[in-house]
């Protein structure tokens, strides 16, 4: 009954034994997981568990402006033509072609990701001019088409506006338009809705899912919000203290968590609707994550092993 790996699909991104250090501190310790076309993998964990470092390491962005070093492992990326490439061994010019084209990223705070002095249309057009060599006019037209695709109303008008002139939800739609510009095989979304109000979050998550259906893109979603995970993810990787705690399908991990830490995490989530039929507030019945901790013993895969 486990929602198994779709038959015949090989992973588009396969991370094996990824290890990242900041000096003596190991931020990611021997992490392995696969990302499949058309599926959403959620990477969850608390602050400092290593989830954002994982995302930045895959894109090889972690080495910019920090003392981080990717110390081991392999990140095998399968190109559209079927050839594979280890991103950890690739040189910078190759990576520059891949970033934003084959693998793109969406960050938490769109206002800091957008350049305040260029119009929104210009910023999306830039991606197309760099990766596709499009002419200024063609890129501009394509940018407006992308704005339409992410359901930005009055796309042509918004394309000539500046980031501060539109709302946070619209900015995140622009970031998604930019991420989609070159039909990427993988989108890495790091807390893409954390800064948004709940009604806007619902719109953005719905949009991401719809676009994924249209394009068969693999999405790696980094989040601390288990509600978001339950809503949109197919698969889940739970991290703690730089390590993998548990991975599997979302249904399997939510319904039959194996690691004690996952059980503790799930016990602390407020689930909307869980109080139906009661009148009084009720405390959480918490599982202690560290009672007879045996990380090595109960770490591992749940359900559909990837």
């Amino acid at each position: 009954m486990l929602p198994a790996t779709p038959p015949g699909t090989s992973p588009v991104l396969s991370v094996t034994d990824l290890t990242v250090r900041f000096g003596a501190f190991t931020a990611v310790d021997g992490l392995s997981f696969d990302l499949h076309p058309g599926r959403t993998l959620a990477v969850v964990g608390e602050s400092g568990s290593g989830k954002s470092v994982t995302a930045l390491s895959i894109m090889r962005l972690i080495e910019f402006g920090s003392r981080a070093s990717v110390d081991g492992g392999q990140v095998l990326f399968t190109r559209a033509d079927g050839s594979t490439l280890d991103l950890l061994a690739a040189d910078e010019p190759t990576l520059r072609r891949i970033r934003g084209e084959a693998i793109s990223m969406i960050f938490q705070e769109p206002l800091t990701s957008l350049n305040p002095v260029y119009t929104l249309g210009e910023q999306v057009a830039e991606v197309l001019r760099f990766h596709r060599g499009a002419s200024r006019a063609d890129a501009r037209r394509e940018a407006v088409r992308l704005f339409d695709r992410v359901r930005i109303p009055q796309a042509a008008r918004i394309a000539s506006e500046y980031p501060h002139q539109i709302s946070g939800g619209m900015r995140q739609r622009v970031m998604i338009a930019m991420a989609l510009a070159c039909d990427p095989r993988v989108i890495i979304a790091d807390e893409p809705t954390t800064a948004l109000d709940v009604t806007i979050q619902a719109q953005i998550l719905g949009l991401l899912r719809e676009l994924q259906r249209e394009t068969d893109t693999a999405v790696m979603l980094i989040t601390h919000d288990m509600g978001v995970v339950a809503e949109v993810a197919d698969d889940i990787v739970v991290m703690r203290h730089s390590r993998l705690v548990e991975k599997g399908s979302v249904h399997a991990v939510f319904e039959r968590p194996r690691a004690r830490y996952t059980r503790a995490l799930l016990s602390s989530i407020p689930r909307l609707g869980s109080m139906a039929g009661t009148g009084e507030p009720a405390p959480f019945d918490l599982v202690d994550a560290d009672a007879d901790e045996a990380v090595g013993a109960d770490a591992g895969a749940t359900g559909a092993t990837r």
């Binding site: 339950a230 989530i269 959480f284």
Partner: protein
């Protein structure tokens, strides 16, 4: 027994340089009973944090009354206000910004007692602060440490201990658990509930997180564009929402259970701005009682979801 807090017709209008005005609060009225948690929910810009600050008198209301434990505090000057401040304490969202990095956390928790001249001698103060540390689940030995030596959850416990130092009747919690990791958040919520049961505290719990509110609150008020559009017992508001905005919020909130996954319509739309051109002001909503204690605004024409993605007040016509 009188209510811990009564707010009547509260209004707060901010004038902007271009003569437009933000109507952050309009005709807000509610009461919080002793030992009760009233949650105020809504999205950015709905006025919920302004409400917290006006109730604490950190901001002056433009109109309306604030009655704290039977005393009208709306117009008291700071000297007359001081004894009443003991009754009402606030815990903010960011425990990193709320503690002085150069002072020990023991000093921080003892400071309200010193300010109000209740500290007694050094030994008595240390004893009281130590007891407060234990009450919030910290060790007495941690009193001598500095804020940077604590995690976010521990800092929020320190802020709660400081808020409890003066034995208030009402604690205003403005997104107090929003910045915490989920397991720490659950622990702090459990602590707040235990303290409520123990001390008979009332909470005015301001939050954007409906799942947390469902867990914590006895009653819920839903704010939209500065006004309460629905208020009532938590079970009534969550299980039988009456106002279309409450329904929209509940529909949008993610449910942390993959078996309850829902298809979402691909809506585009945002809450309009609470900013109004000079000379115009929002229409007052009229609350209708649907069942005992459960009120919802009568919806003549629900302010439409604003189709314009830009913010200027010009495009604002509810």
């Amino acid at each position: 027994m009188s209510a811990a807090l009564v707010v009547e017709g509260l209004r707060k209008v901010f004038a902007l340089p271009d003569r437009s005005r933000v109507h952050a609060l309009e005709h807000v009225s509610f009461a919080v009973a002793p030992g009760e948690t009233l949650a105020v929910v809504g999205e950015s810009g709905c006025g919920k944090s302004t409400l917290a600050q006006v109730v604490c008198r950190l901001l002056e209301p433009s109109a309306g009354r604030i009655v704290l434990d039977g005393t009208d505090i709306t117009t008291l000057d700071s000297r007359a206000m001081k004894p009443h401040r003991r009754q009402m304490q606030i815990v903010f969202q960011d425990p990193f910004a709320s503690l002085d990095p150069r002072r020990t956390v023991g000093y921080a928790v003892g400071e309200p007692l010193r300010v109000h001249g209740l500290a007694g001698d050094a030994a008595a103060l240390r004893e009281r602060v130590g007891a407060l540390f234990e009450k919030v689940g910290l060790e007495r030995s941690q009193m001598a440490q500095f804020p940077h030596q604590f995690s976010g959850g521990q800092r929020q416990r320190i802020c709660i201990a400081r808020a409890l130092a003066l034995e208030p009747k009402l604690v205003i919690a403005d997104e107090s658990v929003s910045a915490l990791d989920v397991s720490v958040q659950a622990q702090v919520i459990n602590l707040m509930m235990a303290l409520q049961a123990d001390l008979g505290l009332s909470y005015l719990f301001i939050s954007h997180d409906l799942a947390v509110v469902e867990r914590m609150a006895h009653r819920v008020a839903v704010m939209y564009l500065g006004q309460i559009v629905e208020i009532g017992p938590r079970a009534a508001v969550f299980e039988r929402p009456r106002h279309s905005y409450t329904k929209r919020l509940l529909d949008a909130a993610p449910i942390a259970d993959p078996r309850q996954r829902r298809e979402r319509p691909l809506l585009v739309g945002e809450v309009p701005s609470p900013r109004w051109p000079a000379g115009e002001s929002p229409e007052r909503v009229e609350l209708v009682e649907h069942e005992p204690g459960h009120f919802a605004a009568r919806e003549r024409e629900m302010p439409p979801v604003d189709p314009s993605p830009t913010d200027p007040a010009a495009s604002h016509r509810p």
